[in-house]
């Protein structure tokens, strides 16, 4: 335990977190106007889901193509609370039934459905954001992992659930807002979330939540649990033969990823001011995997950078070339994955190692035996990073 504690934050970890904090808390707020900063806040809300995927996919080896489900659950829970607040009888006097959300009125509902009622309370809403998604994930994961369903089958099933949930939301438009989603959210406990000052507050709140989640993820990875996850990923049967109930660990990490994703969804709703089924389905779920892959699926910080960079690239490219930007994005994905299989984090680790080596070399007496020797050394040191087995 003592050994673990001293290893909890290595110097390099602290530097990496510090750099991220510097970027998000100082550099970006000072250089960007509030419109762009709000966009960064939106990008960061995807980072929550990407961090979850690093744990679940990068370390646990469980590829989930359905993180959008949990992102959506969190986002919709937040949106339901905000929508109820925006649908006071005074604000909706024009409707045939004042006091219910506008889309219910358009769909001939005359009373608030029972499952909307609890969302009048902020406390319930926060609990729902934190625990409904993990609960749902628990049911799915238990059903799958206890029966030793895994790998590709699990990925397909998560994808199917994402599709089902989208269809459900779109089909039940009287209760969910349908394709339009839940729009026109205005205030949180009377506080106008659309004003510029609110956007600053929400941005910094989002960053704080992000660091909280990073910390939790970090603790999980550095604990014995994290080691076991890697072991399960690489040789599941060996871990099982050693007497561990493998499925419980897998269930835990999947639920944890779901919770992170749901927090991200709630942050998204707050930053953007609406929630829609386009954020729940298969496409956004796969995009989240892309953020994670591009950032580096073995690095939780890499996932944050991945979400930031991909979304920033999306915005700038689509502004510059509205007709061609999708091709540029495709080229970017293929290029990065081909050139750096471990994503940007892999590239960063490589550079840091090289830098350290050079420093070590320059401080040591000049050793000019041969270049291949240095190269060999570098390979040795980088092999310290556990590369995931290809599945």
């Amino acid at each position: 335990m003592n050994v673990m504690k001293s290893n909890l934050f290595k110097r390099q970890d602290l530097i990496n977190y510090g750099l991220l904090a510097l970027l998000l808390l100082v550099v970006l707020p000072l250089t960007l106007d509030i419109f762009r900063l709000n966009l960064v806040g939106k990008y960061l809300s995807y980072a929550f889901a990407a961090i979850g995927l690093v744990l679940c996919w990068g370390y646990g080896g469980i590829l989930s193509l359905g993180q959008g489900i949990f992102f959506g659950i969190g986002g919709y829970a937040m949106a339901m609370f905000l929508k109820l607040e925006a649908s006071s009888p005074e604000a909706t006097a024009i409707q045939s039934t004042p006091g219910i959300p506008d889309f219910m009125d358009w769909n001939q509902l005359t009373a608030l459905p029972w499952f909307w009622e609890p969302f009048n309370s902020l406390g319930f809403t926060v609990l729902a954001i934190l625990f409904v998604a993990p609960l749902f994930a628990f049911v799915v994961a238990t059903a799958m992992f206890k029966r030793r369903v895994g790998g590709v089958y699990f990925a397909i099933i998560t994808q199917a659930i994402a599709a089902i949930l989208t269809i459900l939301i779109i089909g039940q438009q009287g209760y969910t807002g349908g394709v339009n989603g839940i729009t026109d959210l205005r205030t949180l406990m009377g506080w106008d979330i659309r004003s510029d000052s609110a956007k600053y507050v929400l941005y910094f709140f989002g960053v704080a939540m992000l660091f909280l989640c990073l910390l939790m993820a970090h603790l999980v990875l550095k604990s014995k649990l994290g080691r076991l996850l890697v072991a399960i990923r690489d040789r599941e049967d060996r871990v099982r033969f050693s007497g561990y109930d493998v499925s419980n660990f897998k269930i835990f990490v999947f639920c944890f990823a779901a919770m992170l994703s749901a927090i991200g969804g709630a942050m998204f709703t707050l930053q953007v001011g609406f929630m829609s089924p386009t954020l729940v389905g298969i496409v956004p779920s796969i995009e989240m995997v892309i953020f994670c892959a591009l950032g580096g699926r073995l690095s939780i910080i890499g996932a944050v950078y991945g979400a930031l960079l991909v979304n920033a690239a999306k915005t700038t490219m689509s502004e510059a070339f509205p007709e061609l930007w999708l091709f540029a994005m495709g080229a970017l994905f293929i290029g990065v994955v081909l050139a750096f299989p471990n994503g940007l984090a892999g590239l960063y680790t490589l550079l840091v190692d090289k830098f350290k080596q050079r420093r070590a070399h320059s401080s040591a007496p000049a050793n000019r035996t041969s270049a291949p020797a240095a190269e060999k050394e570098q390979v040795d040191s980088s092999s310290g990073v556990t590369a995931p087995s290809q599945s």
């Binding site: 419109f35 438009q173 339009n180 729009t183 953007v272 001011g273 609406f274 386009t278 689509s318 007709e323």
Partner: protein, 419 residues
Amino acid sequence: MRMRDKKATTHSPLRRRLLKGFLALQAAVVLGNASIASAEEVNTTGLAVTEDTVKVGILHSITGTMAISETGSVQAEKLAIDQINAMGGVLGRQIEYIQEDGASDWPTFAEKSRKLLVNDKVAAVFGCWTSASRKAVLPVFEQYNGMLYYPTFYEGLEESPNVIYTGQEATQQILEGLDWASREKGAKTFYLLGSDYIWPRTSNKIARKHIENKLGAKVLGEEYYPLGHTQFNSVINKIKLRKPDVVFISVVGGSNVAFYKQLKAAGIDMTQEKPLFVTISVTEDEILGIGGENIDGIYASMKYFQSLPNDNNQAFVKAFKEKYGDDIVIGDVTQAAYLGPWLWKAAVEKAGSFDIDKVRAASPGIELTTAPEGYVRIHENHHLWSKTRIGKAHTDGQYEVVYESSDLIEPNPFPEGYQ
């Protein structure tokens, strides 16, 4: 891609005179230098207006599933802007447009609209197509006080001070079509069929009330299918079984292709008019995908068809084809999108200012006698007075206009008795 078309901004008097002569036919407003008010006078709220340019936004999906529908709107808006620029611009200023891609994704629409209003400070935005995208941008337009010209026929139930709705709302489009079917074709029974989202549902709600309460006829069935659905065999069987006089259809997008092909494959000859098929969602654009031979004989109830014989429309179709090629077709929404820049120009000139509040105040009562659909006027509720026509589809992919409402129909987005 930002276009900075400055070819007509030169101050050379010779060029100006040439332009004037060249455009004498359609020239309604060519302002001399003397009559151009300074930028400070016509823009007191910090919009992107200079002494000789004004920036506007175009916000449609040009990628993703909606691109096929929205491309026509983009083309029409660009054509209108080019024509206005060639005539001397708006208040002596050339229009520059900034185009953004909504990517068929509602959050993207919200992001881009915020960018256009906050960063680019555009004086107006021409854009959106689906109701979902409009709902996503609406709070942004209301918060930053922008002006959106929205081209699509839609479900109504909305009246924003920051939107001018250049398409028809549901009652304008539907009631005339139902009355026509009842009066001319003696229809007594109807079958309602639509895609599952807010527009078909609201449209059918209005249709049902009208059929049951006003026409004294019967609705035999009402069904919805998810967007993108392609298996219509069961509903086709039901139609064959229950033999309604009219099938009233609001199926949108790619589902149309499957639906009409399967109808034909099931041995229903639409030209027999047994039952009579009336659509409110298939424009000439959709027929391109469905194929004229698969839809020959159905009727559509809308405000515009490419085949309208009036002079305005002839000129419009000619200009459209010159710019985009002879194969291009023009649907109802494309024409409505074309009205946007013209209505905005007229309101700005009436207000003598680009300020959003003044443009809004000037908008009701603005009329356009040069509209391809004939004549339109902006109502107090920001929708257009317009006529409704019934067109019959032919194998060449065009509609033949068989009926036209005698008067302009008042827009009524919150219809009493239809809620």
